[in-house]
């Protein structure tokens, strides 16, 4: 992998969104990944709909949580994602109003990435932003900088938040992952969370995945 990489500098990442008081992080993580994949395949960055997943992914539980693996399958079955403008986020479950002719991006399948952070970094640099999940305990109190909580505050087996990994690098000698969150721009550093890279902190390596677009 290169020493550092940031997909924000290459136009593959849309602006920070806000999930509101709704446990729909899984939808934001997955749509963020597909936005990046679609950009890399088609050269056009779209802002895609999370509400479509909240309403129409019947396997997951909308604001009560969901799994990226299910969301990829749901998108495949539905036929794709509408844009944010066509199917706007409301932050609560509604009846599904997905319209096939409004599909703006589709996926062909999905894959699970290695649990080795070095391999994840190489995959990210080569293929685009990655859907990941982590233990978010420290995130409630995070303001800025590279977060590296003790393991007792960040049990890697207690994963409870899905986010989008958009890059990595080093800041003052501290290696980090750049993580796009979905709690609005007034969270962390302009909506981003920076997590220590290299110790599998907070279980960041446990659930890396991506959609595949042919």
């Amino acid at each position: 992998a290169p020493d550092s990489w940031d997909w924000r500098e290459h136009g593959a990442v849309s602006s920070v969104k806000n999930q509101g008081m709704c446990g729909s992080c899984w939808a934001f993580s997955v749509t963020g990944n597909i936005e990046g994949q679609w950009f890399l395949k088609n050269g056009k960055l779209l802002s895609l709909s999370e509400q479509e997943l909240v309403d129409c992914d019947t396997v997951d539980q909308a604001c009560r949580g969901g799994l990226p693996s299910n969301a990829y399958e749901a998108i495949e079955k539905l036929g794709g994602l509408e844009t944010e403008t066509d199917y706007t986020y409301t932050g609560h479950k509604q009846s599904c109003s997905f319209v096939n002719r409004k599909v703006a991006a589709y996926i062909n399948s999905s894959v699970e990435l290695s649990k080795d952070e070095k391999e994840i970094a190489a995959w990210l640099a080569e293929n685009g932003p990655v859907s990941v999940a982590l233990n978010a305990f420290a995130m409630q109190f995070y303001k800025k900088g590279v977060s590296h909580p003790l393991k007792i505050f960040c049990n890697p087996w207690m994963i409870d938040h899905a986010v989008l990994m958009v890059g990595y690098g080093e800041s003052k000698g501290i290696p980090f992952w750049a993580i796009k969150n979905s709690w609005g721009e007034d969270y962390g550093e302009g909506g981003y969370y920076y997590l220590y890279r290299g110790s599998n902190a907070c279980g960041i390596n446990k659930m890396a995945s991506s959609a595949v677009i042919h």
Partner: protein
């Protein structure tokens, strides 16, 4: 200029509908608007109390909430509607002192003390019984931080009880953030965030995703081919 030897009369509570009170409230509202730089006329949105005290004249102490209306000051319309909910944050909590020295209804506004309701409410914490021991500095720091937090994130609570509950949670969260800060192995800064008035459980329920931790629900996915290009 009061004669200090003059015995003070006892203050008497007046109801909103008692004779004379309407006139006093109208006078107060008029004077408030004359002294304000706001573009829109503001009106009394909530009556809290009026007391009358017989001294060398009559002293009225008025406590009310004042909110923005949709009428510009320049307009001559008398009955103006309040702004909808979103503008409630601009509501002020005011205390006025109005004197009728002549006892003939010639009113004079002597004192006016208004502050945003959001901040005014936090003054109530002064009475909150939190275990601070003798650490006054720690307590004052908490009050200031909480006031700043309320203002920055536009937080308003429904009752005094709720406010008290939130300030205790806020205090606990400050301590947690300090612990995280002292033990962090990176360069992160932890502290007050927009989630600082939520318990960890509330935060998990509102913003996190418990299903991710249900490993038995995870369906297997195809492994990705490793990166290959230099």
């Amino acid at each position: 200029c009061e004669d200090p030897n003059q015995p003070l009369g006892s203050p008497v509570q007046l109801g909103e509908s008692e004779p004379g009170v309407k006139k006093i409230l109208e006078f107060t509202e008029e004077r408030y608007n004359l002294g304000s730089n706001a573009m829109h006329r503001r009106k009394i949105s909530r009556f809290i109390s009026v007391t009358r005290q017989m001294l060398k004249g009559i002293r009225y102490t008025i406590k009310v909430e004042v909110s923005n209306t949709q009428c510009k000051k320049s307009s001559m319309v008398r009955s103006c509607d309040f702004y909808p909910e979103s503008h409630k944050l601009e509501t002020e909590l005011c205390m006025f002192e109005v004197w009728d020295v002549t006892l003939q209804g010639n009113l004079t506004l002597l004192k006016q003390n208004c502050q945003p309701k959001v901040i005014a409410r936090t003054e109530e914490f002064i009475n909150v019984d939190i275990e601070f021991g003798n650490d006054t500095f720690e307590f004052m720091r908490l009050v200031l931080e909480f006031k700043h937090f309320l203002k920055k994130f536009n937080k308003v609570y429904s009752s005094r009880e709720e406010t008290e509950r939130r300030v205790v949670i806020f205090y606990e969260n400050l301590k947690t953030a300090e612990t995280l800060q002292s033990l962090d192995q990176g360069s992160a800064e932890y502290g007050v965030t927009k989630f600082s008035d939520l318990t960890v459980e509330e935060f998990q329920t509102m913003y996190l995703n418990p299903l991710l931790n249900q490993w038995t629900l995870h369906s297997p996915m195809k492994p990705a081919a490793p990166a290959q290009r230099p």
